[in-house]
């Protein structure tokens, strides 16, 4: 009896152990090829069942989908990851560094050298530098530029700067408002840039003396003021950066704004990259323009507020243009003295 019980127990143990071994083999045997492939990838030869699928997905090959539309057959747009990486790892940090460092340099420059004074002081005799239409065009562009720049910067940097202040909900509301305003005013910026181009292009073409002006850093090297026409080489460079940058911003913005012309995600990503780079470059260079037009050079801001500058300012910064204006005024006076002047033609020079 005892022998029969012992035999039955042994059989039961054998069955249990056999089952456990069988389960263990079932679980682990399929893993052996993977283990071999891990230890020695070259010797592998055992393809992951999902490898081919995901390789096809990542290749960007188009499949078929019930949904009809641009890129709907593409499961994963690999370019999107490259775009995301560029935006988060390069555009945002390098853009902030670029703008921040230029602002710091401008402040340091101001603290070290101070504003550029009118040599000999203002004379009180005014000369018209910009017409009403030119100033209207300028401030129209400025208004749109800063409205778009601020809303764009909030969209780009808001999650880092505004979420800690406003919270996620507050930032969501702000970002939505900024996006709507940015998209609405964007096309108007193209109108403004074209107005700027047509209004100011004739005086922003390269002229003799511009290279000299640049080589002397506008008078910072070599001492004294450098001869210049209505606009010096620095102003011409800013004009072309603003116009060409503005055109790139407008074109890429329209691609992003009007997503109804069949442009795919790849085109949108490239447009966004161009838009971001152009925006950060133009914003950064505009800091220099604003500095030179306000605190940097005494007597400049009035040219864009009331349209007039002091005669001494014109003589020292734009001597060739000043000479042209004087000659034009002389011609007018001569014509008036000879009785040939048209009624209402005013001299561009006025006194305070």
């Amino acid at each position: 009896m005892a022998t029969q019980v012992q035999t039955a127990n042994r059989h039961r143990r054998i069955i249990v152990w056999s089952l456990m071994l069988l389960i263990a083999l079932m679980l682990f045997l399929p893993l052996i090829p993977y283990a071999l492939a891990y230890v020695s990838p070259e010797a592998g030869g055992v393809p992951n069942p999902g490898t081919e699928l995901w390789r096809a997905v990542r290749s960007g090959d188009k499949g078929t989908s019930q949904v009809q539309g641009v890129d709907t057959g593409v499961l994963i747009n690999e370019y999107g990851e490259a775009w995301r990486h560029f935006r988060m790892e390069q555009l945002i940090p390098f853009g902030a560094m670029l703008m921040g460092s230029v602002l710091v340099l401008i402040v340091l420059f101001y603290l070290v050298s101070g504003p550029l004074r009118i040599p000999g002081g203002a004379t009180g005799k005014k000369i018209q530098r910009f017409s009403v239409f030119e100033r209207t065009t300028h401030w129209f562009t400025v208004s749109l530029f800063w409205l778009l720049a601020l809303t764009g910067l909030i969209l780009l940097y808001g999650r880092f700067v505004l979420i800690p202040v406003l919270g996620p909900e507050g930032f969501g509301l702000t970002a939505s408002a900024c996006k709507e305003a940015h998209n609405l005013f964007g096309p108007l910026f193209l109108v403004a840039i074209l107005m700027m181009l047509l209004t100011f292009v004739k005086d922003n073409i390269y002229a003799r003396g511009d290279i000299t002006w640049l080589l002397k850093g506008g008078g910072m090297f070599g001492g004294g003021h450098v001869s210049a026409g209505r606009f010096n080489a620095g102003e011409k460079i800013w004009f072309w950066i603003a116009v060409l940058g503005g055109l790139v911003l407008s074109a890429s913005g329209l691609v992003l704004d009007l997503a109804v012309f069949g442009q795919g995600r790849e085109v949108m990503a490239i447009s966004h990259v161009l838009h971001g780079i152009a925006a950060l470059v133009v914003i950064t260079v505009s800091f220099g323009h604003i500095y030179m037009g306000t605190a940097g050079v005494e007597g400049t801001i009035s040219s864009m507020t009331n349209g007039y500058v002091d005669e001494a300012w014109a003589k020292s910064h734009h001597d060739r243009w000043y000479a042209e204006m004087q000659a034009a005024a002389g011609d007018d006076e001569a014509e008036q003295a000879g009785g040939g002047a048209a009624a209402g033609v005013a001299s561009p020079v006025a006194n305070d």
Partner: protein, 212 residues
């Protein structure tokens, strides 16, 4: 809390101030008594009133070259604002909810283009006003406040367009209420006054046989 105030008591106050203010302004004009004119009429006053109203929509030939910007920007802004106010889909829904009267709103793309043209006109007009030495001298705080307030109302409206955030809708309605309260006490009243004003001038001259 703020949203309840804006949708409730603030709206009621704004509506009453706007309604009574506008009516008071119009009635006070009509209550002004002119000296009786005993001269023999040389033309029709009514024809003069109608004619002046229509002719003033067209720029004077001799002034076109000097006022091109005002004409183009002025029409862009005023027609755009009119279209936005009465044909933007959210506004049509609002009017329908308030009065029971509804009409076909303009499509989304038309709203965007209209808003852009309207902003273009308003911005150019206001910047030109500030830049031109004569208009700058003639302008006072009321002119600037009216332009800026109108711009803010339009801007908040466009920001709230997507309709996902209640806060943006409340902000837009609040700015509208500020504008409505300011409206009767400002030159914005020209929205109601330009027709009677033109008519008065046209009739006065028309009776004397002069085309105003």
């Amino acid at each position: 809390m703020f949203a309840q105030l804006v949708d409730g008591i603030f709206w009621d106050i704004a509506l009453w101030v706007f309604g009574i203010g506008v009516l008071w302004g119009i009635l006070s004009i009509f209550r002004v008594r002119n000296k009786p004119d005993y001269s023999e009429p040389r033309g029709s006053g009514t024809a003069g009133a109608v004619g002046a109203n229509l002719r003033r929509f067209l720029p004077r030939t001799e002034l076109v070259s000097r006022t091109r910007l005002h004409i183009v920007a002025g029409y862009l802004f005023h027609l755009g604002l009119f279209a936005l106010l009465f044909f933007a889909a959210p506004h049509v829904l609002f009017f329908e909810a308030q009065t029971g009267l509804g009409w076909t709103p303009m499509p989304y793309w038309a709203f965007i283009i209209t808003a852009q043209l309207s902003f273009l006109g308003l911005m150019l007009l206001w910047i030109h006003r500030v830049m031109h030495p004569v208009t700058r001298l003639l302008s006072d705080l009321d002119d600037h406040l009216a332009a800026i307030l109108t711009f803010i109302v339009m801007l908040t409206g466009c920001m709230a367009l997507i309709g996902e955030f209640e806060g943006l809708r409340v902000l837009h309605r609040f700015t509208v209420e500020l504008l409505m309260v300011y409206f009767p006490f400002s030159r914005l009243m020209h929205a109601f006054m330009f027709i009677p004003s033109r008519a008065f001038t046209g009739a006065w001259f028309g009776r004397r046989g002069v085309k105003a």
